[in-house]
């Protein structure tokens, strides 16, 4: 197989980074990205893009740690380079505060982020409702810039990108040799995965350029994440809700909770409300599958279900998906050479 044709379905952070990894791992591949949405209309564009991992219940911790480390290392290098501002990657320091001391005082990622330590008494005084906290420095991927930068890198490799709603993976079997499924919430319908469920998140993106630090409540529901031009205020975790319409009561509630943590936000301007559906699953589905229909086979690599942790592990899962694509190619070449015999 001279130039395997790979279709990546999905153009959020997972789809684009997976496509990029495929061009890096399999330079002979011809990669095409197909998606019904591109930045700035993907789920990834709503997310703040903070590198603070979400824990998947059914994935081994060492695997999650490896994915996070891979992602952090990759982005750390970009943040330190001349490309940082174009790629939308920047360092941000801040605090994670808890109303009651967490069971695990040291999360699995504490030695990967920078300068992780417990907050001092003096720092905790700023949060009278909270009794314990952690201070650290991590990275943020601002979207759209990061997605646009990935698209630019992809175009430079000759990757084509098309707006197209794929209703069935089989649609692609005549044009492509391998399909990579990075459809996030779309996977529920596309491949009938009932283990995938949306967790609705509403956020506010505000103009508050004096906010230079992140603050996150350890319960994951209230957070303040300063981006390049806007600060993301969150949020909600509404399991099973498919609604993409902003809710006014929720907006007020998010704003109030964030102002409790950071009173100066009362002066925030230009409040934009956004909604995203986290493509949630007990574990990320990162595996090969060979679909079969009437004697025709279609190799598929799944890479979806990253829920609240997409940005944190995107590069690590993208690399693994690229390896799975390589395995698919070997399998195809193996079977085609067997056919020749």
């Amino acid at each position: 197989m001279a130039s395997p044709k790979v279709a990546v379905v999905g153009a959020g952070v997972i789809g684009l980074s997976t496509a990029l990894c495929i061009t890096e791992t399999c330079p002979s591949c011809s990669v095409t990205v197909l998606s019904d949405q591109f930045s700035p209309n993907t789920t990834s564009d709503v997310a703040a893009g903070m590198l603070i991992p979400h824990t998947y219940p059914d994935t081994p911790i060492h695997q999650q740690k490896q994915w996070f480390k891979e992602t952090f290392t990759y982005l750390f290098a970009i943040s330190n380079s001349a490309k940082a501002s174009e790629a939308g990657i920047h360092l941000v320091s801040g605090w994670q505060v808890f109303k009651s001391t967490p069971k695990e005082e040291l999360p699995f990622w504490s030695d990967i982020v920078l300068g992780f330590r417990p907050m001092s008494e003096a720092e905790l005084q700023k949060f009278p409702q909270h009794r314990f906290g952690q201070a650290f420095t991590t990275l943020k991927c601002d979207c759209p810039p990061y997605l646009l930068w990935l698209e630019k890198r992809l175009k430079a490799t000759g990757t084509q990108m098309y707006t197209r709603k794929v209703a069935d993976l089989w649609e692609l079997h005549s044009e492509y040799d391998i399909v990579v499924n990075c459809t996030g919430t779309g996977a529920q319908q596309l491949v009938g995965d009932k283990q995938l469920f949306p967790v609705r998140g509403q956020v506010l993106k505000v103009h508050a350029p004096w906010v230079k630090q992140f603050i996150r409540d350890g319960d994951g529901l209230t957070y303040i994440y300063p981006g390049i031009h806007r600060v993301t205020l969150g949020g909600t975790r509404e399991k099973g809700s498919w609604s993409l319409s902003p809710d006014a009561g929720t907006t007020r509630d998010i704003f109030d909770r964030c102002c409790t943590l950071e009173p100066s936000l009362q002066g925030a301007q230009d409040i934009e409300v956004k909604v995203g559906l986290r493509p949630s699953r007990q574990c990320v589905r990162l595996q090969r599958e060979v679909l079969s229909q009437g004697g025709v086979k279609l190799p598929v690599v799944h890479n979806y279900g990253h829920g609240a942790g997409g940005f944190s592990v995107h590069r690590g899962t993208a690399k693994e998906a690229a390896h799975l694509v390589k395995e698919c190619i070997s399998a195809l070449q193996g079977s085609s050479s067997r056919a020749k015999l």
Partner: protein, 348 residues
């Protein structure tokens, strides 16, 4: 009781406010006036980035360290007030970088979360092998000075746009006490060979992805002669110039290049930053802050001057501690003039 403050930078305005807050209800006849030839946004304080950070060493000047602490604690207490944004006050974390290990600074327990940098963090800054991380405060002069001016105006303090040529000029008009907060130009009012300009130049850029201050140190070339990057609420300040004895307030092309090249080397992404301004100013440098009373005989009258100048590159950092010390000196003047039983405020 007429009090004239000379100077409308951070020191003049905060001293005026501190005195008015403490004494206006106790001295019904108190009339406070501010005289200056430059007001915000044209003062030295307006050009400063506004980062709270003292020099590396206080040279044993414990008094200045205490004033720095008083200022930090005062500002920290205002962080959650509704006025914070209007004051230009916010938290900021960042890095101090060195090419060799150095002793911890006098202010390590004043700021929040002071610690040494980890090896991983130092990878961000090739050429630097040691450093600190801490959370401090920004107090932007462009917001703080108008805020102080508003508070003073509300209190009925009067402002006069004029260059005062001598202390006598004010005393002959019936002023009882003069607060000399004239910063760099104090020498025009009373010669002071110890007061020298510490010329600085800065480039203002748009680099909103930078969320930390980064201050490098070159122990051989001295304070602020090594690149620094300080992100503000509207733009980021690039600097690294300290020229002792240079009175020029003109921007120098040579200094521009030095700042630009060294800051871009520190943070390569700055090459893409848009330049939106440039400014030069004179830090009113002195071996120590002059904060003391001086009695001047004028005929059969005793006139009182409270000097509060020479804050170098740490005026914003130390201003409130000095304002309170100036207020205490004012209190002792009132006591002597039998205008007051005992001075108000905490006993120190």
């Amino acid at each position: 009781m007429r009090v004239a403050v000379i100077g409308a930078g951070v020191v003049g305005l905060s001293s005026a406010l501190c005195i008015h807050e403490q004494f206006h209800s106790l001295v019904p006849s108190l009339e406070l006036e501010v005289y200056a030839d430059h007001f915000t946004p044209h003062t030295t304080s307006d050009g400063a980035a506004g980062l709270w950070q003292p020099y590396l060493s206080d040279h044993g000047n414990l008094q200045e360290t205490l004033w720095n602490k008083e200022t930090f604690d005062y500002l920290l207490g205002h962080l959650h007030s509704p006025a914070a944004k209007e004051m230009g006050l916010f938290l900021i974390s960042g890095y101090n970088l060195f090419t060799e290990p150095v002793p911890d600074p006098s202010w390590k327990n004043i700021v929040l979360g002071f610690r040494n940098l980890t090896p991983k963090e130092l990878e961000l800054f090739p050429g630097y092998s040691y450093g600190w991380f801490n959370t401090a405060l920004m107090l932007e002069g462009r917001s703080y000075l108008p805020w102080l001016t508003n508070r003073l105006t509300q209190r009925g303090v009067k402002f006069f746009h004029k260059k005062v040529e001598s202390f006598q000029e004010l005393f002959s008009q019936g002023v009882d006490v003069v607060l000399n907060c004239s910063g760099m130009r104090s020498g025009d009012l009373q010669p002071d060979p110890e007061l020298q300009p510490g010329r600085g130049q800065i480039i203002k850029v748009l680099a909103p992805w930078v969320k930390h201050f980064i201050i490098t140190h070159n122990l051989k070339s001295g304070i602020y002669n090594s690149p620094y990057v300080i992100p503000g609420s509207e733009f980021t300040v690039l600097g690294g110039i300290y020229q002792h004895g240079n009175w020029s307030e003109e921007n120098s092309a040579k200094d521009h290049k030095s700042i630009w090249d060294s800051c871009c080397q520190l943070l390569p992404a700055l090459q893409k930053a848009k330049i939106v301004g440039e400014w030069s100013g004179l830090r009113p440098a002195r071996p120590s802050v002059r904060l003391e009373r001086e009695s001047i005989r004028l005929g059969n009258l005793q006139a009182e001057v409270i000097h509060n100048y020479g804050h170098g590159g740490f005026g914003i950092t130390i201003h409130w501690g000095c304002a309170m010390a100036a207020a205490r000196l004012f209190g002792s003047i009132l006591q002597e003039k039998k205008q007051l039983g005992t001075p108000p405020g905490p006993r120190l």
